[in-house]
């Protein structure tokens, strides 16, 4: 349904993003993972023409058979409002502080459909129930700042799904939230996506969060895809050395039997940080931080297919030690 081909984003003379190929099927959920500076947010924004004015976007993004790159602002605005919904990291900033919550959701509905007042009210109530906001009638009369962070994010989700979009773009929607609220919001997104057959592009720096919501994951480093595939497979058995390092650096070993052994033990880390735009090394952009880099890495690694669903670009991929372990699950 969403087909990205040879998408590049330039700022000045620096190429920030270069994605050869990425697809999202109807109703599927894809997680886009990367560190700050990897270009993940810029990629998500540029899909619907919301890139910064200094960015130059080329290539092809087809949505439901329609080309979005080079599409007029008017058409893009219509697509954003009706076929693509969006939610962001900071819900309070995305909401109008002077307008009651119910009216804001109503506005989102009215953008695409003319409805009577009574219908509108019923629809707002319905949407608020769908996103599990308690006591919709009372909350609808509140201003955004009177709601908790989780409730604000639910309001934003309600607005995003008001017109039954075919794709929801979620940019770090839970980063600012507490863990228990984060779980509720992730649950909600997954449920809405399945019920409504709504595809989702979920952008995050946290592999754990991405795996909790999406079946597919695409790992972005310095603006390039380094590994794409089913989340469990990619995280359980990463091939690209960068993915491997990202997985290892995640401290999330909650309540496993090893906890008492692991306390106070250093975590594996990735040294250094993401290169600044234009400062990435030639060939494999990760090679200056990679413990396994060899001379071969000075050349751009080709995309290799593991199977029909998985591919990665690494000259020295991690050995497939866990081969077959997925079959037992």
């Amino acid at each position: 349904m969403l087909t990205i081909r040879d998408l590049t984003i330039h700022v000045g003379n620096n190429q920030i993003v270069g994605i050869d190929e990425l697809d999202i099927e109807r109703g599927a959920r894809l997680g886009l993972v990367g560190e700050s500076g990897s270009g993940k947010t810029m990629t998500a924004m540029s899909l619907v023409g919301l890139q910064h004015r200094d960015c130059r976007v080329t290539g092809s993004v087809q949505f439901d058979g329609r080309e979005l790159i080079g599409c007029g602002e008017k058409d893009l605005a219509r697509i954003r409002g009706s076929d693509v919904g969006m939610i962001f990291q900071d819900p309070l900033r995305a909401l109008n502080p002077t307008m009651r919550v119910g009216r804001q959701i109503g506005e989102a509905i009215r953008l695409h459909a003319r409805t009577s007042r009574a219908q509108l009210r019923a629809r707002v109530h319905d949407l608020m129930t769908q996103v599990r906001l308690p006591d919709p009638d009372r909350l609808a009369r509140c201003y955004p700042h009177q709601l908790s962070g989780g409730q604000q994010q639910r309001v934003l989700i309600a607005m995003a799904i008001a017109c039954d979009p075919k794709l929801l773009i979620a940019d770090e929607p839970t980063t600012a939230l507490d863990v228990t609220v984060q779980k509720e919001i992730l649950d909600l997104l997954v449920r809405l996506s399945s019920e409504k057959q709504m595809a989702m592009l979920f952008v995050s720096h946290d592999l754990g969060v991405v795996r909790a919501v999406s079946e597919q994951v695409a790992v972005l480093y310095s603006g390039r895809l380094v590994e794409v595939g089913p989340s469990d497979a990619v995280i359980g058995d990463p091939r690209h050395r960068y993915t491997e390092a990202l997985v290892a650096a995640n401290p999330g070993l909650i309540s496993s039997d090893e906890t008492d052994v692991l306390i106070g033990q250093p975590l594996p880390t990735i040294t250094g940080s993401v290169p600044a735009p234009g400062a990435a090394p030639s060939g494999c952009a990760f090679r200056n931080r990679c413990a396994y880099a060899t001379d071969a890495c000075e050349a751009v690694p080709p995309m290799k297919n593991v199977d029909s669903e998985r591919r990665f670009t690494c000259w020295n991929p991690s050995v497939d030690v866990k081969a077959g372990s997925h079959g037992t699950r």
Binding site: V11, I16, G39, M42, H52, D54, A276, P277
Partner: protein, 278 residues
């Protein structure tokens, strides 16, 4: 982006106008084409380019260029002193209001709100009645008029700086509130204060002209643009240029400082200076 930083046309035009004004004013200390007070009785209300009077003479035969140059000096003097006074007092007040205890903070914030609502021109009139019209009166009036505004501009940003974590860290290593205000908050407000000062400077020039036009500012023989305007308005029919020239001077000076302020704003504001797009 580097190009955008250094070549702001506003900044260049503003700085050029201000430089012209300052040069003319300073030059008048050592040289003017004629003595600004000297009367050339044979050449009253001479049009421009008459007998070496570049912009002509006024109704008493005084050289217009000389008077404008001396007027520039007076305007600058009043503007420098009043802006400096207003900025120092306003920033001090604003910092106290932002960083003081709850009581001071509330009291001072309300007080500045009230003071802003007072019509400044009335304050000036009252002062002039008490102390008699003079440059000093004009300066005091402008300071009193501008201080609450300056404080108001500073309070919000100062509170924002105070809310940042390096302020808490400074408290944790034992720095006092006043140290934090002067060594952390003040430097961080530097760009804001510079921009504010240049805008105020423009306001001060305009206000000085208005006050001396009303007869509340500099008295004879000190030349002043505002008084030149006032004196020449009775002969506007015979010699319109006598009204036009001081008017243009005031306008250019105000424009110069406003452009300079705008230019400095976009140059010093980190949001403009370092636009990060990644």
């Amino acid at each position: 982006m580097a190009a955008r930083r250094s070549r702001s046309p506003q900044l260049i035009v503003g700085a050029a106008l201000v430089a012209l004004l300052v040069l003319a004013g300073l030059l008048s200390l050592v040289w003017t084409p004629y003595d600004p007070a000297a009367l050339d009785v044979t050449n009253k209300m001479a049009p421009p380019w008459t007998d070496g009077h570049l912009l002509g003479t006024d109704q008493l035969g005084r050289d217009v260029v000389a008077q404008l140059m001396a007027g520039a000096l007076n305007s600058l003097l009043v503007a420098v002193l009043s802006t400096a006074g207003a900025v120092v007092l306003g920033v001090a007040l604003g910092l106290t209001a932002a960083g003081g205890g709850r009581f001071w903070s509330d009291t001072l914030t309300r007080a500045t709100d009230v003071a802003i609502a007072l019509p400044g021109i009335l304050v000036a009139l009252v002062l002039a009645t008490f102390f008699g019209p003079s440059n000093t009166t004009a300066i005091v009036a402008i300071v009193v008029w501008f201080v609450p505004g300056a404080a108001r501009i500073v309070i919000g940003p100062a509170r924002q700086v105070l809310a940042r974590e390096f302020v808490e860290a400074a408290m944790a290593y034992g720095r006092s509130r006043s140290f934090v205000l002067f060594r952390h908050v003040l430097p961080n407000l530097g760009p804001l204060i510079i921009v504010m000062a240049s805008m105020m400077f423009a306001g001060a020039i305009l206000t000085e002209a208005a006050l001396s036009y009303l007869g509340l500012g500099a008295q004879r023989p000190t030349p002043s643009w505002g008084r030149l305007l006032f004196e020449s308005q009775s002969v506007i029919g015979q010699a319109p240029s006598l009204v036009v020239f001081p008017g243009v001077c005031i306008m250019l000076a105000v424009l110069g400082f406003n452009l300079l302020g705008d230019g400095l704003r976009s140059r010093l504001d980190p949001r403009h200076a370092r636009e990060v797009v990644v």
